[in-house]
Symmetry: C2
Subunit: 325 residues, 2 copies
Amino acid sequence: MSTLKRKEYAIGIDIGGTNTVFGLVDHRGAISYRGAVSTKKHEKIEDYIQDLYIALQPAIEQAGGIHNVEGIGVGAPNGNYYSGTIEYAPNLTWKGIIPIAELLSEKFGVPCSLTNDANAAAVGEMMYGVARGMKDFLMITLGTGVGSGIVANGQLILGHDGFAGELGHVTIIPDGRLHPGTGLRGSLEAYASATGVAATAKEFLETRPEIETKMSAYAKEDINSKVVYDCAVAGDLLAKEVYEFTGKVLGLALANFVMATSPSAIVFFGGMTKAGDFILKPTQKHMEDNLLPIFRNKVKLLFSELDEADAAILGASALVWESKL
Amino acid sequence: MSTLKRKEYAIGIDIGGTNTVFGLVDHRGAISYRGAVSTKKHEKIEDYIQDLYIALQPAIEQAGGIHNVEGIGVGAPNGNYYSGTIEYAPNLTWKGIIPIAELLSEKFGVPCSLTNDANAAAVGEMMYGVARGMKDFLMITLGTGVGSGIVANGQLILGHDGFAGELGHVTIIPDGRLHPGTGLRGSLEAYASATGVAATAKEFLETRPEIETKMSAYAKEDINSKVVYDCAVAGDLLAKEVYEFTGKVLGLALANFVMATSPSAIVFFGGMTKAGDFILKPTQKHMEDNLLPIFRNKVKLLFSELDEADAAILGASALVWESKL
């Protein structure tokens, strides 16, 4: 029997391109303090760390002092679990390699674990969400971009360098749509993200101007995924077809992922999940159509039930409790 | 300290569609007895087991009796590690679900572990081959078909149902070439297998009859991957282009797999590897071209160095020593 006792709290930090949100989280996943600082406004990482340090003091006070905090877990774009560094994140102000885990650990005097935001979400889902008890599942975040976390044998797949799980960037349509951020063509993210949905809607409007649609009431630059959703809800056929097409690409991609790691479920998270059955039904149909028979009708497609704002914090904090990913 | 001592030998059995090969293997991976029986000629599984039992007696005798054998490891198409059953293997005589591990275990009186042939090869490669010491790698078998085994965090990825690692069946070219065995279109196996190479050569000959090529000396039904190889070695440009095209599809597929699990190496195994640089160079180029920058120039492409006949036996026997996959 071990004489070591885990401390009561962990701090979860989710670093986004615009804002950083954080929370004080206990073992059961209850968040007892929430806060936020701007990510974008700090050009220097040192200023950002200092701002975060100040903003977190009330949380630490509420915990009864830093000695009651087991550690800090951070989810960040291009966050590397092995090195504790954020590496060349295109959406962050700080360029190059940022040793964020070391900086935070030194500043706060507690251990700090880092992984990328989608991996953090997968860990959160496994500990507190719909994936509780699952040993093999995929987490797919459908937001401005498409992120993913792969869990197999009960462990997060990090890869030899910590960068595994970039399913948003796999090629689904060779020589397909250009992704302006990566320069790659036909990637999942170019179609199945909010940005991709808007691009599909614009393409449909341009190439099929004869079709009557509520979307034509909008200026081209105002077409976004929310417009597509609102029009689909209002019964617009072309808007529904945008989701049908998106689901075709996403379903094909999911079939590929399923035949690779054979998960029991795929958990969706992020703004695009608001589209509900508009996106889920075609996705499920095309996934099943592209699977070998031995994989069919086995994989559950689930929506995350975690509150969107909380999930990121929970996922990051869960890194602290998961001593071995 | 444990008082348990592992026995000296394991039996490795590789069940192929035509033949079954087996061997007596020690801890260091030395095969001291080799044998084979026909798979195809036994319509009844009981007859097959009996034949295998008789054929293995000299091996067991050489081990000094079955009490010196730790167990039997079996690699078989559609072999399921969790259930110990071969399920609906299209290339085997026995249909439906075959409880092969139970049948062998009862017959021989030792434990029996089963997995699919490509997974067995991955385990063999990790224990005795070029992947020794690697915790994250992919094994791709390029033979009549395309098989695969995924190792991450030092463990074989089996998935929730034991069927993970079917990378040969992922769709690379949507609405592409029909795979007559699966009915799916555009799968990796439809292009990057020996069968796929022959199909590409036939397509090229048909659609570009104006091009001078040594391959046109062959009747269409005689075109196979060996003909393509021989012509490429003799400097034939169209035959080389067949490999270039195959490498383009394979490279694109590998890029997708790399961005999923970020392996340190991809190990190729099987008849197609004889094509050497003809296939390796275009594969590497197209893989790199389709990767995000953070993954580039990191993944080693390696050919298995295990003797082809032995590798299957070694891989299967390694299942016995690997108590936890």
